[in-house]
Amino acid sequence: MQRIGVFVCWCGSNIAGTVDVKAVAEALKNEPGVVFSTDYQYMCSQAGQDIIKNAIKEHNLSGIVVCSCSPRMHEQTFRKTAQAAGLNPYMVEISNIREQCSWVHKDMEKGTEKAIILGKAAIAKVNLNAPLTPGESPVTKRALVIGGGIAGIQTALDIADAGFPVDIVETKPTIGGKMAQLDKTFPTLDCAACILTPKMVDAGQSDKIRIFSYSEVSQVKGFVGNFDVTIKKKARYVKEDLCTGCGLCTEKCPQKKVPNEFNLGMDNRRAIYIPFAQAVPKVATIDADYCTMLKSGKCGVCSKVCTAGAIDYTQKDEYIEEKYGAIVVATGYNPISMDKFDEYAYNQSKDVITSLEFERLTNAAGPTAGKLLRPSDNKHPHTIVFVQCVGSRCANCAEKGKEYCSKICCMYTAKHAMLTRDKYPDTDVYVFYIDVRTPGKSFDEFYRRAVEEYGVHYIKGMVGKIAPEGDVLKVQASDLINNKQIHIDADLVVLAAAIEPDKSARPLATMLTASMDTNDFFTEAHPKLRPVESPTAGVFLSGACQGPKDIPETVAQAGAAASKVIGLLAKDKLMGNPCVAHSNELMCNGCSSCERVCPYGAITYSDKEFRMPDRTVAIRRVASVNEAVCQGCGACTVACPSGAMDLKGFANNQIVAEVDAICK
């Protein structure tokens, strides 16, 4: 049986004006477990807190009820008071007789009556309270960043800058991501490489950052502060520590017909390659699908020319296990496939290209050395049509495209159109759009310049059909403003393809028990208040994996994610919220209902041996809650049909006791 003290606060006249506080203190004296009851003008004042502390000591109280303002106001205060007097802070219950009683009722008699009932409910609850201690877990002071694009690089740099070691895992042979493929960036038109490559170098040279390129995350176990991650380092058949990146092998390799993915297949590379000149790490990689040596055992040219002796045809995939305190997901995006958009003839004509391909075509390091030439015949195009929203905002064509707005296309199309007109004044440039969305800083001015200064023809309307005919592409479109059909003979058509999360995100989300929306973008812990955290504690989101973003937004979010990680890694120990779920293994059926409703992946299962009531021994699957991960929402407690799952601090019997007390 508890020894409960009740402390009724007047809050000056805030409570005492409508509630007879003395009558409340008197009435609650007789409740089961109550051994002391008093009232005071301001319980939260130092003098008030002293009354509580003294009573705890003098009456050897095991729990207290403070009838006062909202727990949102002073629960913490009174918990600290209790703790200072040697009482577990979770043995404190607040009865809200101000915001939810004296302030909303006017009749003294009725207000007093209600205050007594609310007090009784709190007493009934505290009678069933048990001291709670927040769980502690250590923090591994190392972060993992999955994805080496601008988002991942920036996050890693910021974390490293704060002094914590970071690992970047990148599936490609180099970091850099999509930004490395871009030519110029809107709205300032800086060269992408000029602003990205220094960051890549910084990352490569930082003593706090390790880059696992050509690698993937293959397993994640553990929880916030204590993740155990297995990283698969794919065999690249080149010893990274020996390769100097001289590039001789990539020139001598006899296998020249490998489509160059960095240039989106618009030119070829060798079977041993370095994706681009500024790659980090600048290490060659052998493409096992094309290497004659690996396929047939005949060749070995690269090995012969490599003076560093870095070539190793016997290399195997390597698995590295590492511990991390925090994980940042920065898996980025890809343009969607154009296969389903037959009307735009993407697969019929080489001269229908995507915007990313256009970036490569205009990039000085691209397949045409920056000269805008038609892919089909390498001729200079004169009439260029840009089509926006290809697969974006597809509410009625969900099977082909995406319902959401891809956000970046309006601006990069304006950039493309402007740059084309700037460099090639002899061109006619048309842009077909549904809306032009320019909500960023200096965005609208940028778009206006394209229209007004560079004479780009912006036409509101969608392209219905593109048909290759001889030398030209017959573009059939509607002009909604002038309400007419338009026919343009274009030399080049550029499709602003919608973007989608990288395909690696879905299996990764499963590994991380992080949730995703229907489009496979990662869900944030709270859309407004916790935009860079995933609901799974210790997992953070950076860049386009969470939703379409342009570079400045991505960098901002990357920094925000890094600051969250730094905040986590700066702690030596994590103190959990002690009001967490708890599974009674003896009653658990292992049915997985709780696991399925848990937004945090806090529930795991294990097979355990049980001595059954009939004296047999059975192996049963039972749930256990990871207290460091559980946030205490209680969804599992209702999903559990057997009642094996309960919530500390808001236990079934506590809530029922409150119900009973209120309904008496």
Binding site: N589, A618, I619, A639, S642, G643
Partner: protein, 332 residues
Amino acid sequence: MQKINSTMLIEKAAQLLENGTADRVLGWKKGEFDYDITPAVFNSVDQIKKEFVFGDFCGANLSKYLVKETRKGDGKVAVFLKPCDTYSFNQLLTEKRFDREKVYAVGISCEGMADIFKVKQIAGDGIVSVSSDGENVKVETLYDGEKTIKLSDVIAERCINCKSRKCVAYDELMGEEGEIIDSDRFDMVSKIESMSEDERFGFWQNELSKCIRCNACRNVCPACTCEKCVFDNPDSCAQNKAPADSFEEKMFHIIRAFHVAGRCTDCGECSRVCPQNIPLHLLNRKFIKDIDTFYGEYQAGAQVGSRAPLVDYTEGDIEPGEAVMKGESENA
């Protein structure tokens, strides 16, 4: 297509033991009369040949026994499952209640089981023997001699409203796989929905007041496989042994139905075993019907691993206020 009969099953059961596929068989055992058949575990071919039986009174759903039976020893358990039982089987697997590796499931096609109480209502007391040829039921009674009744007149209520004759899980199939069928199983639910509030209350007050809390509905239910039921657990705040007040009757049946909502495969065992003939399956069917209406059709047990509607959501789900109206007016 030949109807599955005792001989075929006895042969199969014996074969599974003999060839080592399984070391025990869950099946049905002959009773004292022709109709009082007991589910049983058979350990020997001898026993199978002597006691195994299959016929129109083998209504019992054997799937739930697998939870207990697979925990015993290492060998495999062979089990015979009618189409509706295969749904329970899948649902139990979804909830990981037994190890699939330890079971050899034989699906058997089914055209519906007979209800002995219907037979008695027609044939009268004192049944000495009862047998059927798949079309007619021959009954001999102490007082009225022999009578022939159409099997279709004594088919159990739940089989008349059968949702599916498709075996959705098995290692081996006897007879046809069967098909999902259109049934009028929600008719009675609709009928109650279209009653006035007072009539609905009257209907259920009358039905539930018959409850004696024998727990047969719960204990037979393949969805109720909790290690310990909340109603038996003194710490659950819901423990209760008898309907001491009419509230307790409602509490028990509402919560029981809620706990199996989205998990109930509609096998109808609850109503079959109720000694007080309370149409308990209607509570479960109400939930099934509502789930179908609110969230799209969902059949528990149709697939292993499917996500039950109550552990799932969409952002655009119906609001409770609208749901109540929809659950009421759908048929009005």
